[in-house]
Subunit: 487 residues, 4 copies
């Protein structure tokens, strides 16, 4: 078997780096589907309906799919062994040409499928006319797109892991650092820096899980179901699926002809990743302000102002946040697109590619940039420590101490709330509130309050699984290190 | 163990039928969190920030969660056995009151959690003040919402199966009916009616798969992670998870405090179902027109016009199609909502409930209505048959016959295309085109064309797995019957 | 003429305060459009297709429109004077009943139009059957919705002005306060507090302009175009327009029957307001953090935590920010809804009301809450002043001084950038950088730099129209005061 | 004054035809804003943050704006006359180079502004360093984008008029043709073809109105407000506004620095146009089916199938419908983008350009293709006429006749509804229903029913303004012809 997937991936890698090739136009060329037509296509229509300017990105998958199809056609006797070899070789050469940027994509052939088929016919003659047996562009494009998404899922999962590694990798340098934790952006309780980093790892892990679930639904072969009803050619779909590494066969041709839920599911997974990254970006933009001053971003990841000489701006993070817009917008595009479409292929579906290409590229680019940025940023430990006793981060600990002494939670909450109000009036942390306040508040506080208070004590006091208790966090950090080193 | 989940589900069922209870307002009530405050909440703020008017829907889950929490608090020694029983019983009585529509929800207590807690304290006194130990509303609402979504997923999967059964159930009455298949809404190839019905079953099956994947991520316990950092109370989270039927524990408190990807994933799954239903609705609206006239909808599922006496309109289908808008809009709302939020709880997240409630209700209502509509609609077999030879549904079969005779596909396509053009000029189906056209087109067609042509012959000619070949379709139909009877 | 619009507005105001009335159901009631039907509507269909649970909100506009229609029908001779009076009075009484919450809305009559018509017939007998002459629910609901939107636009414009007044009203107390201005959330240049407030006034003014433009397109009468093609009754549409205060008549019945661009345009205007408010909310949430500490929100506009006793959270602002989600989601719903609908009415359009009602209510509620919050918040002048020299807010001023001395801008930018780098190394503001640095940087800086530097000097140095120069800002502030007092 | 706007527009036209120029990269080039930086920008960051690959589209507006700025700087004495001429000429030459596709855009200069400035300095030396005086990229890009949108609005309005002309131009050939009008896609009442065409003209006219309203808000000058606070240079903003044809000046620098509501408003206008076109596309796709068969699309505007030889598909219309997705998605992107951004410029805003460029291009392309398609399509008059008596299009006319005889509308509706039910049972149009049914239904129908019935009679019977009455329609058609010939 000479499908040589490896060499395709090599080609594919080349292709990923290539800029989009220019598309040329020669109007009034006879169309491969033109038999029934009495009139030539209007050149404006060619321009409006073409997809080759963007679906050329699928070229290598199209060739891979066509080679598997060819192999199968030979096995079932539609092609001779010689024909099979001619087509396979021809397609391979076209693939190489495309990968090297030499291929002449032509608008009048509309899309990547017809461009390659026409090039094949030009190259090997009449035999090339046999390639499209038992299939249609409808199942062909669905196959191509599934192969592409499958690869993208793998690529994005690898990038997710890189970002997780960047977070986990900060563990050593940030060990012991306590940060304020916030709810409502108001200081709430103290949290270990590593606990912050692992929170993002957890979110990214769920994102990965969604991608893997999506992959199972993507990785089902539509090829061989032809236009919408199947084919009278006795194609061996299972053989094609095996050659291309699909997990199974789509079972209903009417369904598979126009199904795009696999595209939308992938775009939804990407939107959730973008949302998670937007939260990280927001948080780190805040932490990089002169007011928070928790974080020093690497200057190599900042840019300046054309007018204000002092500016060092967190542009990468702002763009990551802003790009959420396009990823959500792409998902909306797809959801509007398929609304109210009857079964089987409608040309509207051609519009599925730009949004999903853009979402994958955007999320991949954000992940790629964030990994080194996360790795290289530095916590301003002194600044953080200086203001750590602000904001009554230990108030809840004191309340829970009261609870442990038998005071009902709601009562304890009220008592500590009033103590904080007094401390606010005096402008001091709880620990500096005169002891008589504590004594007056509740007898049990007279002796013990000061031992319990303070941010370090508060952190150490946590007990629950999943809490920021140092031992708990260390355990989880070790698990993450192990997990990521195994992958 | 007396958690009596069954009785809760009973209550819950009652609750689902109940209309939303009215919320009353008594301003200037002291807040349970008011210790630190020097000023009372503005009544306009109470109205603006309340969630009780919609999150009362979570009441039964809130009680269920609180009962499990109570049981655990007793086990770890925070509550005595007597206290546990008092709280458990009190909560049960409150649940019954809510389920019977007698409970007085009050705006000044903001949300379902505080309404129930305050009612508990009013009912059992100081002991009720202990309930909120080791937890916060942040983990509580996440728990409630996960329990609700888990139930909704189960409910919607059951409704999906009902709709699948309605499609599969049509098999007997529609056996042998051939319909035109369309691409681009132009007649394309003939397709068995049952093949149509199974296409929708396939789509719905993927929708079900997505819901099940989502369910695994939803069914992780956040309770016990408290506000954002965990708690100093040595809570036993695993015990609570076991009591409530969760599959696992969320491992990072900072993450779980504000995570809403589980809500958005569920809303995405619902959006895809809505999209699938919108396609079905569109198709059947078309088929019900005077022009297509394939389908007679049950009059009980149509409504009329206030002005035009003759109208019998497919309103249910139109509304199903239109409701896609709100389901997609709800997803957008959620994606806008969480954009750019830093870690842990922000009050913005209160806005997550209305959209997800509405999406679940909408999709459930559409599925519920479509099942009987699909079951009761009738195909107009005579009308369909009369026009079945229109549109050259057999052209591709003839082309594939040529291919089987060794003509390259692209050449065969051109030949048949020109034959259709001639038939179009004469205004006849291919089968009525004079034989000399076939002979001129290709020698092999001179004798055989007429045997191959015709819609019934075309259907019978299909061979590929997943095609509309009658034997293939019957096999799949049987599998679906088996599958759905087993569930 | 006894249309008594004023009394309707009175009723309407009552109605706005009323909670949504409950809808009751009596299945198997004969439908007003049921003549052609052989089968009763399925009760599940009644529940699924009803709109009375939400379009009851249009009741008063429906009655107003029907009274104008009645007056016109009498003028063209379809109704006698007596019939006109019976109907007008009957409708008035029904309106009063609705406004007082006594009206029994019934699900089996589907919508507000049929509920009122049936109540009229029940009340005045056969004469009531004449009301629906020359119109359809299609033009009726469009009329109702236009009247409602017209009122909502006026209401929201009034609320916008209130918020503008709150900003402008802060002028006296905040006079002279200088705040850091930010780009990229990094300190950029100094800005007067009032300049900040007027920035929001400008944005809101454009929002108002969009609403007024929208109002002109909304305020066109569709009534009288009947179902989709007009009517054979010689209705006087201009008379109805005059009675109802419409600016003109929609000129094409096919267009007006299903046109919803007026709804979507309104929803778009609301989305932009929500976006503007989300920016304000974000900014003030930041300013209320312990880290920025620029702003003290009134405690009456904050709420606390169920677990953390010290928390005073900016919930109103967070909810304003979060509610952007639903307003954008509603717009998306509408845009999905109308996609791909052919001309004239389709039942999908019933789904237009919930989103637009929700968007208007949401934006109105946010504006209502923000006005007092903006008025009552206090700037922490001392805290702001203490840190005002952080962040090199005067660097650009110094650069522009160099430019005024003939140094090209790009060169001056480089020089000052390097001075800031030196100051950063030393951890001092520019003004505290040793003089030799300035001398070395550029001869002209040796003497003058220290006079130019400092935030107050920087503010005073601005010259351009629209800048934060104190005299400029005062002039604009005066203009705003005048403008808002005139409205 | 030598701004030579005309020559710029000439260049601009060239530019519109040019493909996007390739962007080259030379890493580690010193940045124009690099003075304060100690570290070079990471090349991955350059690639991630660059906008030159897409904002090069604004080049000609950027040059135009810079030339006006230069002129002003000379007038206020910042530049000498000679300097002004050097800069103006240099910019003009760069513009010519860009327009001819010879300009070397470089990624390391990030955006169009810096690329042009750096090219100017390279070309004319130190004088070029003076250009950026008194401005920032923040106000510069806002100016460029406003100039671009202003032009796009004018372009799209011209295209709207072309499409309106195509509709109105059909009037002669389609005179007298009656089509079924639909509601709920069920045959409703008869409508003149020209009435259909003018319905679309009305929708497009409102779209035009929205664009013109938007244009007023777009056409306000931000330039001269610099980064966010204004400038200490005494710039003459009014002079720049006059030179560039702006209607006014934005009055608050903090507002104008980051305001993007003008972009979103434009994108909203475009979304409504796309929605209107999606409805037209849907309608004409339906009319082109074998089942409706009302319309013959020009074959030059259709394409075929790769597998099915007979297919002639309405691809242009399907793509127009599908492209609604991207235009709505772009609007969503923008609304997500600006959510929660504080005042003044944030780098997120760079993401505003791709969506708005794409929406404008998409809508323009759709309008461009639809005009010839609408002009050249042909109504199948015979097919339409043959089936015109199907669907009881005259039922409402008969009902209104009864009303004119004094029968209350609701009663008349019931009577005619039952007549239609009888006709449906017999499978005949109303006119062929035996006379005894009419006599039994209502005495007044015994003689007259048959005169009133029939589709032609029904059309002629319409009376109301805006109806499909032939005289009414002709009057409006004439007005449209006049209106469009005047523009």
């Amino acid at each position: 078997m000479d499908l040589s997937l490896d060499s395709f991936y090599e080609l594919h890698n080349l292709n990923l780096e290539a800029t989009v090739a220019t598309v040329t136009q020669t109007p009034n060329v006879k169309k491969p589907w033109g038999g029934v037509f009495r009139e030539a296509t209007d050149p404006r229509v060619e321009k409006f309906t073409e997809s080759i300017s963007f679906d050329q990105r699928l070229a290598i998958y199209d060739i891979q799919g066509s080679q598997a199809h060819t192999q199968m056609l030979a096995t079932i006797g539609i092609l001779t062994g010689e024909e099979r070899d001619q087509i396979t070789t021809g397609l391979g050469e076209i693939g190489a040409e495309i990968a090297s940027g030499q291929f002449d994509f032509r608008q009048e052939f509309e899309d990547v499928h017809m461009n390659i088929e026409q090039a094949l016919i030009a190259r090997i003659g009449d035999v090339g006319r046999k390639l499209h047996t038992g299939r249609s562009r409808n199942d062909q494009v669905s196959t191509d797109l599934r192969l592409w998404i499958r690869d993208e899922i793998d690529r994005i999962i690898a990038l997710i892991k890189d970002l997780q590694r960047a977070f986990v990798g900060r563990g050593k340098q940030d060990q012991g650092v306590i940060l304020p934790g916030y709810t409502h952006l108001q200081r709430a309780q103290p949290v270990l820096a590593i606990h912050y980093w692992l929170a993002y790892c957890e979110k990214l892990q769920r994102d990965q899980g969604r991608l893997l679930d999506c992959r199972r639904r993507v990785n089902q072969l539509p090829l061989g179901t032809a236009a919408l009803a199947g084919t009278t050619i006795a194609v061996d779909r299972q053989m094609v699926a095996d050659l291309l590494g699909f997990d199974g066969l789509l079972a209903n041709s009417l369904d598979s002809s126009g199904a795009r839920d696999f595209v939308i599911e992938f775009a939804s997974c990407l939107a959730l990743i973008a949302e998670h990254l937007s939260g990280l970006a927001e948080e780190w933009i805040l932490w990089s302000t002169s007011e928070f001053d928790f974080l020093k971003l690497p200057q190599a990841f900042c840019t300046g102002s054309s007018i204000m000489p002092q500016k060092i701006n967190p542009d990468v993070l702002e763009l990551v946040r802003g790009k959420t817009g396009r990823v959500v917008g792409n998902l909306t595009s797809l959801l509007v697109l398929v609304k109210g479409l009857p079964l089987a292929y409608n040309r509207d579906l051609q519009e599925d590619k730009s949004p999903v290409f853009d979402s994958a590229d955007t999320v991949a680019a954000c992940l790629e940039l964030l990994a080194p940025l996360v790795a290289d940023a530095e916590l301003n430990r002194a600044v953080i420590a200086n203001r750590l006793e602000d904001g009554y981060l230990d108030a809840t600990t004191l309340m829970e101490y009261l609870i442990s002494q038998g005071v009902p939670q709601r009562t304890a909450h009220e008592i500590i709330g009033q103590l904080v109000a007094s401390a606010l009036d005096l402008g001091v942390p709880l620990r500096q509130l005169p002891i008589e306040h504590f004594t007056a508040a509740h007898p049990t506080l007279s002796g013990s309050a000061h031992e319990i208070l303070g941010v370090q004590a508060a952190v150490d006091a946590f007990r629950s699984y999943g809490s920021t208790n140092p031992a708990e966090v260390e355990k989880q950090w070790n698990q993450w290190q192990k997990k990521l080193s195994e992958d």
